[in-house]
């Protein structure tokens, strides 16, 4: 996968994850173009489109569009399910997730994504394992658990 974008129906970018090195300018250009293209599509249309030399896979959940760019040999359907699994993870973590959760806790959305996908490839597809990792980290936030933090030398 080359990148993943989350944006709202109004075209506001909510999360961006780039797995290939690009300049900020390029990123902004790609985002603008792709948001426009995807928002212009009608609901019953298929979830895949050819875009530049990439394949774009997107799906809308409530007011949010999840949009991934993959390479030619990558599998479209399994990418659609990557999106779905990520949505499930967010949903489970926030308890029926909504756009506001992602806005106010954007850092958490990134952390969850990093546990699930790394370098654009699935790292851990088990929902339980991913959530366990995140919850453990949350526990470390509580001061009384601070001893967990002391590195073992």
């Amino acid at each position: 996968m080359q990148f993943m974008l989350l944006f709202s129906r109004q075209g506001k970018l909510r999360l961006q994850k780039w797995y290939v090195p690009l300049s900020d300018k390029e990123k902004k250009k790609i985002t603008r173009e792709l948001v426009q293209t995807v928002l212009a599509r009608k609901p019953k249309m298929c979830s895949f489109l050819e875009w530049r030399d990439l394949k774009v896979v997107y799906k809308r959940y409530a007011s949010l569009y999840f949009c991934c760019a993959i390479e030619h040999q990558d599998n479209e359907l399994i990418t659609l399910e990557i999106i779905h699994r990520y949505v499930e993870l967010l949903d489970k973590y926030f308890g029926s997730v909504c756009e506001l959760d992602i806005i106010f806790n954007f850092e958490k959305a990134y952390f969850i994504l990093d546990e699930f996908l790394l370098g654009g490839e699935p790292q851990e597809t088990s929902k339980k394992t991913v959530l366990k990792a995140i919850e453990q980290a949350d526990l470390l936030q509580e001061p009384r658990h601070e001893y967990f933090n002391v590195p073992v030398y």
Partner: protein, 965 residues
């Protein structure tokens, strides 16, 4: 069950975010942000040291501002400080900031790398994972330099936690993608491959992405992964839907891993081990069977996951292209999907079938779905699906269904989306050309194309129809009649006027017998369109008019009248004005004979690859078009092939552009004859233009008179064919210049140059003695077949001087034309008297078939597609031989380039191998050739494989090249 009360951690951040959300305007937002930035800056600069929490909060705010799209130019140092905090969440925010706002400040990078190093050696798995995530997210060269050697160790160490292994595998993958030279697997290879056997499904899932990428680049080193992948796949495929617990996704066991395993196998040919292969075929059959079972869930996630595996399995079946049974089953399965109610599945089925259409085993099976696909083209509501349907129709087209498919595409064009019209036009034009059995159908199709979608008909398309009409005299009359009728429509597209002008200018005489299309009627019809046309078209029409004067003297007065009127002869456009003046003058001064010569019918265009095809390839980008194999040997319509990128208009009809640069230069420009056509008088330049076009053909007609070729004088003594003659030949396979022969008396040097199917060779005969050579004669002969129809060697200059003085050198020029492919070499016989003794020697001239190569650049995808298309056993020639020369990379590259082919990088998955492609140009046809050279440094051996569209060429090239390395 959210484990944490989010936002509690950083109340200030939440307040800031809601402030931003409450901003009514962009200006208000910027104001609020600037206020915040000033606040943060003062906190960071303040005397009071900030505690970890505040630092985390401010860094997080900066990150939020950046993600909103604003520039951030400070805070990096504070973020780096957070990395060394031992509070997990502070460290986490620090890493997130660094990952998103990568900074190239070297001091900073040193600090970051230090922090990462500490975390990697902390043995605290959560810290290690954070550090690895950061490396994977940034993936810079500097990080690769610092950590590429450390990470493989972490990956395979026995005591590494599973979660760390997963991060390490993908971290390494990212570094390998950015800096492959720094990631050396070496000793770790086998342990990494064995991660496929790991008990933890998560570890296997992460590791397989790494292994797939490494296998693509180093297939040989990783080939043990094949059997491991097959057994892993087999275990998953046969497991019950609950066996894998949390790795089962909507009743589908491990869909991500299954797809990746199938993908990995596509890096390799079918397994050689019978047992492994059997097991794999069984898996593929099971996957196909499961597709027929009733779904275990109605949820779309279930069917998506299941079908993702199915499509990946079909890709593998297509990749192997060796199991007819599986290919046909795959095709039937896709056929079902073509009518599925899910748009996504219809889209993917159309796409996947496109590749199936190019396999000989499934081509017929794909064709049975033609009605469904045509229906999709007509009824799909989503343009991207219709696009796929058009692609598939193009891919499944062959002689049997071409008329139907072309008709459907034409009628679709009338309503097609603007975004895909041009591509559709190119496809129709290509199919019409490729499968034209009768040329009237071809002409009808292209004229229809112009009528329906004239705006999208690029120059290549209308050039092409003219090239073909010029080259096929059986269609010229029909073309003239049809275009004449088309022009009668009250509104017709300008492209139609161009084609009409050109064709009537050349072949209007063929329909002039009918009073309804008498010369004057034809002229009036053309001229009625004149005023509506753009300058280039008007220029073309003027040329058509002058041709009319030649074809039909009775129109002369009318046409001169038109040329003479002010709107022509004083036209503000310099090109039009010049044409009018020159043509008027030419028609009044030149005698009928001169006129007839100057305005003679256009000679046929040289046969070349269709320029439209080239355009389509360019438009779609490499790999995107599954072009029906235009270059294959079985092409019956081959003779249809006409001129190349040069438009037909550029030749005789562009008479006057020589001295005046015009805006229409690119339409009218004469590339090859440019220097000659700069002649001062315009009438003169017209002549030159016309003749220079006929140039290549002229000498071949004139040359045989001098008897050089056919009537070699009977020799007095049988010449001794030099024993090392073949060595000489071999010496010049990869180079064109050098010393061909040398003894005590004589040195023969050679310089040669080749373009397309023509070559010119300069021979230099040097007398090494101080005594003159008398009766010096040279004869070039073509032994056996070579003489009659293989290679014509023409002497361009006069015969060599009969006397070569001592120490002098004389030169001879040979022109060579390759008619068809050949394997013998022409002989050069030299006779002279030296001090009374007759010297007689014969050598082979180093003219080898590879000299007529034109390099062809192509992508990996194209290469392998063509490679597959040339899969008939006799098209391939292979040799395994011992290295005779240095195996040095640069030397090999130089030789391969000298061969005349294009040396393709990044095609062969193994970087050690060399892959080349080229087209051999002969007069009658083009032979596509693909070459693969696999050196084995240890064994000092090579394996050389050639695949050409002509069997004899594969054999000959293989023979020639085996001597070169």
């Amino acid at each position: 069950m959210p484990a944490v009360s989010k936002g509690d951690g950083m109340r200030g951040l939440a307040v800031f975010i809601s402030d931003i959300r409450n901003c009514k305007s962009k200006e208000a937002e910027i104001k609020r942000i600037n206020k915040e930035l000033a606040n943060i800056r003062s906190k960071f600069k303040g005397d009071k040291a900030l505690d970890g929490y505040s630092k985390k909060k401010y860094v997080c705010k900066l990150l939020f501002i950046f993600l909103l799209g604003h520039d951030i130019d400070f805070g990096h140092m504070e973020a780096v400080n957070l990395l060394s905090s031992n509070k997990y969440t502070e460290k986490q925010i620090g890493y997130l900031f660094i990952s998103v706002l990568v900074n190239s400040n070297s001091e900073l990078i040193r600090l970051i790398n230090n922090a990462i190093k500490n975390d990697l050696s902390s043995r605290n798995p959560t810290f290690m994972c954070l550090a690895l995530h950061c490396i994977a997210n940034v993936g810079s060269r500097e990080m690769a330099e610092a950590f590429a050697s450390e990470i493989p160790r972490i990956l395979v160490a026995g005591d590494t936690m599973d979660s760390v292994k997963q991060s390490a595998a993908l971290c390494l993958l990212r570094l390998y993608k950015t800096s492959p030279d720094l990631v050396l697997m070496g000793e770790w290879t086998s342990r990494v491959v064995h991660l496929l056997n790991d008990q933890h499904m998560g570890v296997v899932t992460a590791a397989i992405s790494l292994i797939t990428c490494l296998s693509q680049k180093n297939p040989d080193e990783f080939k043990t992964c094949v059997s491991l992948a097959v057994s892993r796949l087999s275990r998953i495929v046969s497991s019950a839907s609950t066996d894998l617990q949390d790795y089962t996704y909507y009743f589908v066991p491990a869909p991500w891993l299954s797809c990746k395993l199938l993908r990995l196998l596509q890096c390799y040919p079918p397994p050689e081990d019978g047992a492994v292969k059997g097991r794999l075929v069984e898996c593929l059959e099971t996957i196909l069977n499961k597709a027929q079972e009733p779904p275990k869930s109605k949820k779309v996630q279930h069917s998506n996951a299941k079908n993702a595996i199915l499509f990946e399995a079909i890709s593998l079946i297509i990749h192997y292209d060796s199991e007819p049974n599986l290919l046909v089953r795959a095709c039937n399965q896709l056929g079902q999907f073509l009518q599925h109610r899910e748009t996504n599945l219809r889209y993917l089925a159309l796409e996947s079938m496109c590749t199936l259409a190019s396999s000989e085993f499934s081509h017929e099976a794909v064709k049975t779905h033609i009605e469904t696909v045509i229906n999709a083209l007509k009824t799909e509501r989503d343009v991207s699906v219709r696009q796929r349907a058009a692609d598939l129709l193009y891919a499944m087209c062959d002689r049997s269904n071409a008329k139907q498919i072309v008709a459907e595409m034409l009628s679709y064009l009338e309503t097609a989306d603007y975004s895909i019209r041009e591509e559709m036009v190119l496809k129709v034009a290509i199919l019409a050309e490729k499968y034209a059995v009768d040329y009237s159908w071809y002409v009808d199709t292209i004229l229809n194309l112009i009528r329906i979608a004239g705006d999208y008909v690029s120059e290549e398309v209308w050039y092409r129809v003219i090239q073909i009409v010029i080259n096929r005299d059986d269609v010229q009359g029909y073309a003239a009649k049809t275009v004449f009728e088309a022009l009668q429509a009250p509104a017709c597209h300008e492209n139609m006027v161009k084609v009409g002008g050109y064709i009537l200018g050349e072949f209007g005489n063929l329909i002039a017998g009918d009073p309804r299309s008498s010369p004057l009627v034809q002229f009036n019809l053309l001229h009625s369109k004149f005023h509506l046309c753009s300058v280039p078209t008007r220029a073309l029409l003027l040329s058509a008019y002058i041709k009319f004067i030649n074809l039909f003297p009775e129109t002369k007065a009318t046409i001169q009248e038109v040329l003479r009127c002010d709107s022509q002869i004083r036209n503000s456009d310099v090109e039009l004005q010049q044409r009018a003046v020159e043509y008027l003058k030419l028609s009044s001064i030149a005698s009928t004979d001169v006129l007839a010569t100057v305005l003679e019918e256009m000679p046929p265009f040289p046969e070349r690859e269709s320029s439209i095809l080239a355009k389509l390839k360019k438009k779609k980008g490499p790999g995107a078009v599954s072009v029906p194999d235009l270059e294959d040997g079985k092409r019956e319509g081959g003779e249809l092939n006409g001129g190349g990128e040069r438009g037909p208009d550029s030749a005789a009809m562009s008479a006057s552009n020589a001295s005046t640069p015009s805006p229409s230069a690119d339409l009218l420009g004469m590339r090859s004859a440019a220097p000659m056509s700069a002649a001062p008088t315009s009438a003169g330049s017209l002549l030159v233009d016309v003749f220079s076009e006929a140039g290549p053909a002229a000498p071949s007609a004139a040359v045989n008179d001098d008897g050089f070729l056919s009537s070699a004088p009977p020799s007095e003594d049988p010449a001794t064919l030099l024993s090392e003659a073949d060595e000489l030949l071999n010496k010049f396979v990869c180079k064109n210049n050098g010393v061909l022969f040398e003894n005590q008396l004589l040195q023969i040097g050679i310089k040669s140059e080749y373009r397309q199917n023509l070559g010119r060779m300069y021979l230099f005969y040097g007398n090494k003695t101080s005594v003159q050579f008398a009766s010096f004669t040279t004869t070039v002969s073509c032994p056996g077949e070579l003489q009659s129809h293989i290679l014509s060697i023409l002497r361009a200059t006069k015969p060599v001087e009969p006397v070569v003085e001592g120490g002098a050198q004389i030169q001879q020029v040979l022109n060579i034309e390759c008619l068809t492919d050949f394997s013998e070499a022409p002989l050069l016989n030299i006779k002279f008297r030296y001090g009374g003794a007759l010297q007689n020697l014969s050598l082979k001239l180093p003219v080898t078939i590879n000299k007529f190569f034109q390099p062809t650049e192509m992508t990996s995808h194209d290469f392998f597609q063509r490679w597959k298309q040339l899969s008939q056993p006799q098209q391939e020639a292979q040799k395994i031989f011992k290295a005779n020369h240095s195996m040095d990379t640069e030397v090999l590259k130089a030789k391969l380039l000298g061969l005349g082919t294009a040396l393709l990088d990044d095609v062969d998955p193994n970087p050690e191998n060399y892959v080349c492609a080229g087209v051999i140009q002969t007069k009658g046809q083009q032979v596509g050739c693909l070459l693969r050279l696999e050196p084995n440094g240890q064994a000092q051996m090579y394996r050389l494989t050639l695949r050409c569209s002509k069997d004899s060429v594969s054999l000959r090239l293989c023979e020639l090249l085996a001597q070169q390395f």
